[in-house]
Amino acid sequence: MERIRPCLGGGEILFRIVLVIVCAVIFLTVAYPLYFIIIASVSDSTLVSTGKVLLFPKGTSFFGYGEIFKDERIWTGYRNTLFYTSVGTLVNLLFTLPAAYVLSRKEFKARKYIMFAFVFTMFFNGGLIPTYLLMKDLHLTNTPWVFIVPFSVNVFYLIIARTFFESTLPSELYEAAAMDGCSHFVYFVKVALPLSKALISVIGLYYLVGHWNDFFTALIYIRDNELKPLQIILRDILLSNQVFASGAGTGGDSGGYAQKYADQIKYGVIIVSTLPILVLYPFLQKYFEKGVMIGSIKG
């Protein structure tokens, strides 16, 4: 991208100054709230709530984290979410990738019609209530399957995958393999998938984040406390103010619990619940643009 080095005229200097200022403002607006949550989670809550903690943690205390790790609900939520996310993402990939491969094959005559049937669901759907009643009729409500089975295919990601297969697998490749007696199954597993690692990472990440952050499914279909995912537990703590009842079951008992720690716990819970995604983030960031670019090719 390095171009001819511009001679720095007055306009160019002014432009650069404005650019740096604009970037600094954007950076601080996005990064500071995140940074603040981190320092607030390990600072003395009284100092935080009086606005004394601004740049560095003050009166460092890990009381909030201690309470969080003692709370059983968090662990149940974590366990459930890990299960729904890992199995869910696996099923997503198992359903989406072969279908995308098939839709990328020109010799598959039905592809135009099936594609239309898929895309149509992006613009029109039965709505909340008919879907809810269907889940009830299928006895999926209040089971772990409701997180996995109904959402095993996301049409948007399917289109991304199909476009990827179309543009990266030259048709000569299949013809050559077919000549040697290779079937679609073998070709898909032995040739197409190994060539699509970037795609699998991108789609996998999208699905994974979707499962991790999903609370709507649980809100509507799950009643059982034992099945609740992390996000629903977070809602109880962060939004409904169900404070911690020191380690014991389904909270609500605020006696014996110092309200002044409530905020510190909230800051801590935000960190604890977002940590896995933040840890994965730097490793996967390089794929984001690739993914969106693959998807934005007109299809």
């Binding site: 709505g127 909340l128 209530i129 008919p130 909230k266």
Partner: protein, 303 residues
């Protein structure tokens, strides 16, 4: 003859059919069966007879919704929140992409991108939780800031005047960076020769943005604009629902949250289905109209 030929291809492609079968089955069961269930909106739901067994009521539930005292409030709130999100939220990623695209130093650009994409991965619950703690007028950092610049005690989340701005600005904070990726991708495909020749013609960087970058983004802008118009009435149910409280309810109750409350909470299945269908139809009309206008004006369209 023709059927035989067709059967022949099915036989030849049986592996392909097997591979697409799971996806096909899921989409059919979980997307098309509920569409069939839409007739619930025209029937009186009967617990013992299931989705399609109730007595036919025609447009009764639609009429009930349109005549209900909440109708005008719901429509106004839904439109206001959606319009505000589109008018302010739609140009933001375009501007951000144009800004990021001007950064020449690679490491600096990378750092900016890493930062602005990050909030997109925060769950909506955590985001609303963050809003609650940061915006609290007594203990939140924004509360202290507002006091410092003399705005006094305003609970941004609990006032009917500040709910929409808070909603829209936090939405931009969270998704603007992520949404800019697609525009950055479009900008990266601009032919570098265009910049070089414009430089020879004496164009400065403001002018290259105005005459090269912006026109290069136009087709992407139009497509994404049509898509967002299609979703005008279905703005983020989840976030609005979580941000709702008794004090902001007059401006924060939208069609989607009302459908949830009527249907899932109070079990008025037929009434809620009718409202949901009403919502979908308006969306569809919007999408269709915007698409038609765009096809006339700019030759870019979705279908």
């Amino acid at each position: 003859m023709r059927t035989a030929a067709k059967l022949g291809t099915v036989k030849r492609d049986y592996q392909l059919w097997l591979m697409i079968l799971p996806a096909l089955a899921t989409i059919f069961i979980f997307n098309y069966i509920p569409m069939y269930g839409v007739q619930l909106a025209f029937r009186d739901y009967d617990f013992s007879k299931g989705l399609t067994g109730g007595e036919w009521k025609g447009l009764f539930y639609f009429q009930q919704f349109i005549e209900s005292y909440l109708f005008s409030d719901l429509m106004r709130n839904t439109f206001l929140i959606s319009l505000a999100t589109i008018i302010i939220g739609f140009p933001a990623p375009i501007i951000l992409a144009l800004v990021l695209n001007q950064i020449r130093r690679k490491a600096f650009k990378n750092m900016m991108q890493t930062t602005v994409y990050l909030p997109h991965f925060i769950s909506v619950i955590v985001l609303v939780g963050m809003l609650n703690v940061l915006l609290s007028p007594e203990t939140g950092i924004v509360g202290h800031l507002m006091k410092a610049i003399g705005l006094g005690h305003i609970n941004l989340l609990a006032s009917s005047n500040t709910f929409i701005p808070t909603y829209v600005i936090s939405d931009i904070w969270q998704h603007c960076g992520w949404n800019s990726i697609i525009y950055l991708a479009a900008l990266s495909s601009v032919d570098p020769q265009l910049y070089d020749s414009s430089k020879i013609d004496g164009a400065n960087r403001w002018q290259t943005i105005r005459y090269i970058d912006f026109p290069a983004l136009m087709p992407t802008i139009v497509i994404l604009f049509i898509l967002s118009m299609g979703g005008i009435l279905s703005t983020g149910f989840e976030k609005i629902f979580l941000m709702q409280n008794a004090l902001n309810l007059p401006v924060s109750e939208v069609i989607a949250t009302y459908v949830y409350k009527m249907g899932i909470v109070s079990n008025q299945f037929s009434y809620a289905s009718a409202i949901g269908l009403f919502n979908t139809l308006i969306n569809f009309i919007f999408l269709y109209t915007m698409n038609a206008i765009s096809r006339r004006v700019s030759d870019t369209s979705l279908f």
